[in-house]
């Protein structure tokens, strides 16, 4: 026990004395949450809009008021001619324009029909789709309100409810993703590097000649990272609850417990990597290329797995982060309990046991 504590203490010193390690450990989660939370988002807010409104009557004013009131649009300009709109698009000053015809109110009142043109800058197709959808929705809304005053033969109104994420916040998607990524990176990359460093410096030899049992070496090397990962889990959760206003719907102990399970999966992956390589560079390359990218691509965090071709869908099952991502979403956002995620949890446990057995076996082989 004493040997173990002495060893863990040494590991702490290594970690605290290396600014690069410290940055990866603590800087990265914070940077990632901030980047994903505030900068990189696929929500569109305050898009610049131009409106051509030659009639300026009751109806157009009512509609424009609604557009202005929505948080998606910021009315940039009232322009008078079509040519002007094109200029604005070219200059990149607006993302979308709405053209209302002459005598809008009169036409609407007499013929019961009116036309509105929506023009969007589709050089960015996603934003254009999102914005035209928002604009149509506002117009639709307005029309429904108008109809309420009249008696119509049929009215079908669809009530939308966005379950679990009523405000369609991006944070609901990326917080679980960032958690998977950070834990994977910290645990796998840092452990594999920490162990390979001992080998590279010729220290492994010395440690193995000492009376330390290999299992103690492995444990002492991984425990500090397990603790640091716990700190990371908690800081990510604090950030997302208080800075991103993302509530934790499910049980917090369950969430933390399962995060620790995923951390152990990642630690065992790190152990496996360190047992097959002898240089820090190779360990880093394997961790980054072999694990970080698949975690990013195949966990469902960036790209929906359902849309992938069959081989990739099959491959994605081997990525531990996919299962963890599912678990975090289920517990944190949907508020589900262990009963709903027992399958994913057992898959993660199975992966962990497998990786641990293989890597400990590898260590013993090295010894004989």
């Amino acid at each position: 026990m004493k040997q173990f504590l002495v060893f863990v203490r040494k590991e702490w010193s290594h970690i605290w004395r290396d600014p690069k390690t410290l940055f990866i450990l603590f800087g990265m989660p914070i940077v990632q949450i901030t980047i994903f939370g505030f900068a990189l988002t696929n929500e569109v807010k305050n898009a610049q809009i131009a409106i051509v409104d030659p009639s300026k009557d009751v109806s157009t004013t009512a509609l424009i008021n609604r557009i202005e009131a929505s948080r998606y649009f910021e009315v940039k300009d009232y322009v008078t001619s079509y040519n002007e709109i094109e200029e604005k698009f070219k200059e990149g000053k607006i993302k979308i324009a709405i053209v209302l015809p002459q005598d809008f109110n009169a036409t609407l009142a007499h013929t019961n029909t009116a036309q509105i043109q929506i023009i969007a800058d589709a050089s960015d197709p996603n934003t254009a789709t999102v914005l035209t959808n928002y604009a149509s929705a506002i117009i639709q809304d307005w029309q429904t309100d108008l109809n309420k005053k009249k008696k119509l033969p049929y009215t079908i109104t669809s009530e939308l409810r966005m379950l679990y994420n009523p405000e369609l916040k991006g944070a609901f998607n990326f917080v679980p993703g960032v958690m998977a990524m950070v834990l994977m990176l910290v645990s796998t990359l840092m452990t594999s590097i920490a162990i390979v460093r001992e080998k590279e410096l010729g220290m492994m030899e010395v440690l193995l000649v000492s009376p330390l049992k290999p299992i103690i070496i492995i444990l002492a090397k991984t425990i500090p990272y397990l603790l640091l990962s716990l700190v990371n889990i908690i800081s990510i959760l604090l950030l997302s609850v208080f800075a991103l206003e993302l509530p934790i719907a499910g049980s917090l102990p369950l969430l933390i417990g399962l995060s620790l399970l995923f951390t152990i999966t990642s630690l065992s992956l790190g152990l496996l990597i360190s047992s097959v390589t002898n240089s820090q560079q190779v360990a880093m390359l394997i961790s980054l290329m072999g694990l970080f990218l698949p975690t990013l691509m195949l966990s469902g965090f960036m790209f929906p797995i359902e849309n992938m071709p069959l081989p990739l869908r099959i491959l994605s099952n081997a990525v531990p982060a996919k299962w963890y991502y599912f678990i975090v979403k289920a517990v944190m956002i949907k508020g589900l309990g262990l009963k709903a995620i027992w399958k994913e949890t057992s898959i993660l446990i199975g992966m962990t046991v497998f990786l641990l057995v293989v890597s400990i076996k590898k260590y013993n082989v090295r010894l004989s």
Partner: protein, 248 residues
């Protein structure tokens, strides 16, 4: 008077497939002796040493180290030996004191012993001023002496030194050998591999390995007589030239 044997090796063999890394080597090392273990790169020195340290299981043969069998009690062996590699085995990003504490700790010394050892070691090496200095900023010679002192911090019966003087200037090497003599005088057996033939002359007895076998084993004086050579260097060259294996 029969001298006490601390290492007994009989027909010790390590095979990797068809390759005999060491081929039935036999020798004894006595208590307090400085035993030089020489050989060109690839001759099988490292393999033999790893087996004696309990790091690697021999394919066949017998060996006991500090009274323990290498097949059955490698853990007991590990507790009774010290080891210093050519890379000096110190953590560069830890301080002098932390290195001493770490190694004393993993060899199971109690907290009280660790404090005593640290104080006596620092004063012996005149490193009191530097106890909180990171090892990476120490001169090479100091690192080497510190590494040796740490390798024997738990008073092992035998200490294995794997090319301990690489890259060190002659004066420091001389000082280092004085530390070795001191330890040997206290009864610690020294098992040392080296590339420097002048160092071979400092040993009580020397064995020279060629292609996995021990080709010569005696005191430096007797070896020079036997091979009719002026220096150990000549003896070594005469034997090493017979090697058929390529150095790795």
């Amino acid at each position: 008077m029969e001298r006490e044997k601390v290492i007994e090796v009989k027909e010790l063999t390590k095979k990797y497939g068809d390759f005999y890394a060491t081929n039935a080597i036999t020798f004894d090392v006595y208590k307090g002796e400085i035993f030089g273990f020489l050989g060109a790169n690839g001759a099988g020195k490292t393999t033999a040493m790893r087996m004696l340290c309990g790091l690697s299981k021999p394919s066949s043969g017998q060996a006991t180290v500090a009274g323990f069998d290498v097949f059955h009690n490698p853990d007991d062996i590990k507790r009774n030996i010290g080891y210093m590699s050519q890379k000096f085995s110190l953590y560069e990003d830890l301080t002098v004191k932390e290195n001493i504490r770490f190694y004393s700790g993993i060899y199971g010394l109690s907290s009280k012993q660790i404090i005593e050892k640290t104080t006596s070691l620092l004063s012996k090496l005149h490193l009191e001023e530097e106890k909180n200095t990171l090892v990476k900023s120490l001169p090479l010679g100091w690192k080497q002496k510190l590494a040796f002192s740490i390798a024997i911090v738990h008073n092992p019966a035998i200490v294995f030194l794997d090319e301990p003087t690489g890259g060190v200037d002659p004066i420091t090497r001389r000082e280092f050998w004085e530390m070795i003599y001191e330890a040997s005088a206290r009864g610690t057996t020294i098992f040392v591999t080296t590339h420097y033939m002048d160092e071979a002359e400092y040993c009580n007895r020397v064995s020279i390995m060629v292609d996995g076998c021990i080709e010569a084993l005696d005191t430096p004086i007797n070896l020079k007589k036997q091979f009719n050579a002026k220096t150990m260097d000549d003896v070594f060259l005469m034997l090493a030239r017979k090697a058929k294996r390529q150095a790795d």
